[in-house]
Structures are given as structure tokens and as C-alpha cells.
Symmetry: C2
Amino acid sequence: MPATIRDVARASGVHISTVSRTFSAPHLVNPETRVRVLACAEDLGYRPNRAARALITGRTHNIGLIVADIANPFFPPLIKAAEGQARHRDYHVFVADTNEDPAAEEDLVHALAKQVDGVLLCSPRMSNSLIEQVSREVPVVVINRQVAGLPCVMMDVGQGARAAIEHLLGLGHRRIALLGGPRGSWTAREMRRAASAAARGGGAELTLLGPNQPTETGGGAVAEQVRRSGVTAVLAYNDLMAIGLIEGLDALGLRVPQDVSVVGVDDIALSRLTRPKLTTVATPTAAAGRTAVDMLLQLDSDAPRGARGRGAASGDRRTTAQVMLQTALVVRDSTGPVPAPGRDGTGA
Amino acid sequence: MPATIRDVARASGVHISTVSRTFSAPHLVNPETRVRVLACAEDLGYRPNRAARALITGRTHNIGLIVADIANPFFPPLIKAAEGQARHRDYHVFVADTNEDPAAEEDLVHALAKQVDGVLLCSPRMSNSLIEQVSREVPVVVINRQVAGLPCVMMDVGQGARAAIEHLLGLGHRRIALLGGPRGSWTAREMRRAASAAARGGGAELTLLGPNQPTETGGGAVAEQVRRSGVTAVLAYNDLMAIGLIEGLDALGLRVPQDVSVVGVDDIALSRLTRPKLTTVATPTAAAGRTAVDMLLQLDSDAPRGARGRGAASGDRRTTAQVMLQTALVVRDSTGPVPAPGRDGTGA
DNA sequence: GTGAAAGCGCTAACAA
DNA sequence: TTGTTAGCGCTTTCAC
């Protein structure tokens, strides 16, 4: 039913290769021929079949975007930005959800590999070595993780965690807890490292709680632990956990920020809408999505491809960019001065 | 670099057509040959190229999912559910964002058409006639809208709106406002119709405010109008607007639910986390995503396709299902009894 | 049960 | 500037 290149050729009285050129190398065809072909194409509603084209050019003009959980509010802005940037460059985006399952990540990369020019791996839970391995099958840009030798887009959560701890120190807190994230998370590791250093430098004690599910439920689940630990402030792995924790503390009769200060990470839209409004480390998720797409497409345009170009210099290691995006502490209402001794929730 | 069917054929000493059969019609090949071929394939890391296969079978095993705004919290659960269901059936999903732009919707369908077996149109802003038109190019399932002759998955927001109004009537409210949604929204129209009827039936006066942007900002923007209108309760087009409205009313010194009751629609995750917790009409978004995928794939398996089957009975109108999913009112803390006269925010 | 051959829609040498 | 030819990776008749 849909018109093919042959239909257009027939209608405009030229060979199919001329039609092909009209679309993929217009400058190589006589202007008059071109307008005629274009008119016929328009007429028939012809659009080149990208899949057929990909078969020979080696470029699909598709990319894959693999995330742990589409419904986690951290990801949608990233997905939206990546998709927008990709489409702006005339690429379509496969989105896939792994449900936080490392094995699903690997499967997905393999399944998508033939249909895409590259894959964006967001906050992968796979091991670094596995990532390197799959990156030999299809170009990969990693988001939210550093993998040596691979292009990566990271957010400087280390700096963010430091800023958060210093903010808490400045409010007088000396007993602080870090609500860790999921096992295998690069972000969680970076936060831990930076928060520990900052706490140590400020003469504060940092209690590590975790690993935890990076969700509201995960945050609520540790409320009791937080209470028992006697800390006066908490830095959570992300906003969702922070919000869950605040709810949990509330249920235990502890007020935020009067009894306990809580800081999140990500600055999801939600963090502005809860009561109290959340103090959090804003991460540039949309920028990360755009940047990652640009890097992937850059990689792609460098790489030799296609039926003919195969086996050429495709193995050369070009300098692989690693980008670190800045974060910023946003102080809202969930942090406050350390409570006076005796006023804390564990006492009277 | 990636292994092709020919590599496998060479390695296992059979013709490529035998390898092909091993994957697409295993029962037609001798068990012994089959295991040998499979072993070689495994060995070489061979996976059939779906795009090449699609060229001849006419089935891409991809679907398109077109939404107005990925970052609108209403959509991610739907996207997640649809993607999960699709992948469960061995389909990959292109996700595209139109930024609420009807023209972008049309472009996207055309751009995706050749690469997918069908498209899911979520809350489309296009006209019905345009939807019918594009549905002739590629199978379409419409979500959140009724289009005659096309398969549709709807949520019964009419019933939901009625339940919400009745809930408010039961609390004594007689002056109620309906915060309308965006222009061209089927949901907005259904809500208006049902809410008007229910209000009339209950002897209440319904003030229509809108159309509005279906966002938090859109909700906040009408707070002043709501105050001036003197209503004691508001039914908002969606939760985001309801939450924005509550914020806006708060800024004007009006308390929810003491001064004004507010009901949302959708029951997004967020609605459980704000203060007050939102009373809202829960819509089964995940179920809608799954159902729509199932309907699309059903359609797909009915349709004759492929290079050979072309032009057969592809024009026949099979009975196109239209599914209406139930909604449910969830009463939380943003609704309460009508304030006693004199206590309302416009007075002392 | 397997191989030979044609061809899906398209691009890319090469020749004219 | 245009046409000819070969072929991307795969499936599917049709013989054998």
C-alpha cells in the first residue's frame, strides 16, 4: 500500500537510483528532475523506508534509551530531553525499562543492537566489565556512571553531597546519616565518598544506612533506624527516599526540620510540592539527556559504517569524552538548625 | 562485525535458508540439524536482523507510542506499562513526545509509520478526522479518546466526574467550579458533560473555568478566578492542576479543605504526597497502556501483511473494539464539608 | 528435510 | 547528470 521508490520512479519517468539520489544526495541531481521527482513523491505520499536504507548504509537513525524505571520521576525529564534532542537530529528513540534488573539491561542491549546506531545506558546496574563488553557490540554512552574508556555523562553528585553536608554543618549538625542508594549504583558510591570526606573535615560523625531501594517506600522503611541512630540530619540518596523518610518520621512523631533535617538529591518536580518543601541537590537531568544524545551521535558520525566501510578503522580508540555536569544545592524548608539538646524526638 | 545468517550457514555447513527456518519455523527442520545450527549461532553470537526480516515479512515487531508530554506524571506509568507489555510480546517501543502540539503528532505518525506495526496515540490533540486519516497509513489504537470506527481505550472520566460531584454534593457544596483542561481534549469534554449533568441533578451551580494548561502552573493561574467566583469546591481536570490550584489558593490565604474543597483526576503518585493529600478520581493508566498494546497487537495479527499478502483483504473493516475502563473516586484530605456561611475566604 | 533462486526497498560503485 | 548492476540480511516459494 505505501508507495515505494519504484512507484515514484515510474510516476516521474526516471530510474529508481535517481529517486534515491533525490532524497539522499539532492545536489547530484538536475534541479528540474529533482522538482519533478519531489512532486511525484509528495503526490504519492512517498517516504523513504529507513529500515531498508539502514540495511545498506549501516545507519538506522534510531537510538536506544535504557532506563531502570520509567515511572521513577527522575527519568521522565531525562527521557523527554533525550527524545527531543534526538528527534531534532532526525533520530527516533526506543525507550526500554529494565525494572532495575541488571540482566534485563544486557538482554535489552543485545535485542536493540541491530536496530539502533547506539544506546544510552542510564544509571546502569550492570558491572563495568559487562558494560565494556556490550559496548563492543554497539556504541554506548553511559549516563550517571563513570566507565573507563567509554563516553560518559555524569552529574557531580560528589560536589553536591559535599555542599549538602557543609550546609548541614553550617546549621550546627554534627550527627548526620547518609541514606545509601541501591547496590551497584555509581552515584551512591560517589555520594558516600564525598559525604564521608566532608563530614570528617567538619568534625561530624556520618552514619551510613543502606543499601536501600531508591523509592519512597525505601525511604520510609528506614525512618525507625534514623530515629534510633539519634542523628539530627539525613542526606538521602534521592528525593523520593527523602520524601518517604519525611513521611516515615512524621508517623513516628518526628518533625522535619524541627527535629530532623532532611536533604534529597535530584530536585524532581515533586520536591517543590511537598510540605515541607525539600532542600535538595539539583541534578541537571535534562542537560544530561541532551548531552548524551549529542555524544552518541557524534560518535556515530565518526564511526565508519555501512556494507562497504565495514572492517575499516572501526577499531580505533578515539578519545572518548567524559562529561561532568555541575549540581547545585537548593535550600528549601526541610533543613533547619540543629535542635537544642533535650528537644530531640528520642527524649521527652 | 555482527554475525549474519550467512556466517551461521557457513559454520554449520547448511544453506542459509535452513538457518532461516531454524529461527522462524523450527518445526520444518531436522532436529539434529537444528541443534547444530543453534549451536553455531550461539557460538557466533548471531541474532536475526529484525529490520531485514521486516523488509520481507512486513512486520517490524516495533510499535510507536506518541504522548503529549513524557514529563507529565500522568504518562510515565502508562508508558512503563505499555513498554513492559510490548516487550513481553517481543515488541520494541518507540516513544515520542509531541509537546502538546497537534502538528507534531501527525508528523510523528508519518515518520514512524514504516518502522512500526502500529501506533498508540495517547490523549491525542489532533482532530478526529485527522486521526482517521493517519489510521489509514498505519494501524492505530487511540488512548483517552473516542473515535468512531477506531479501536480506543478510554477511562470512564464521566463516571469519575459524576462520583466527584456527588461526593461534593454530599458534603453540602452547592457552588462548584470545573477547572477545564486543554482545548481539543476528549477527556475535558466528557468531564464537562458528566459534571454538568450531575450538578444539575443535585441542584448545584457549576461554574466552568477554562480551557487551561493541564499543568501545575495552569492550576495556580486560576486561583484568583476561583476565589472571586465564590465557589466552595472545585473539580480540576487533573491532579497537577489541582495541586497547582491548592498552592495558589494557599497564597491567597484560602485553606483546603476548610475554605475550599478540591478534587483532582488521575491519582498520580504525587497526589498521595502533598499536604493535604488529594481527593481524586483514580484512572487506571497502567491498565490502559497494557490494554492498548494488546489491542494493537491483536489488530496486527489479524491484518494480512508482507510482500506477498499485500493488497489482499487488507481493507476489510473488522469489528473494532472500544474499551472503557472504570475509574474510582479516592477520598483523601482535600475535600471537606462546605464551610459555614461567613467563614468563607471572601468575607472577614 | 534441504537447497536454489527470487526479491523485500533501498544505496552505491561504476559506466555511459 | 543519469542508468545499470550488485547486493545489504533476510524469508519464502518451488524443486528436489
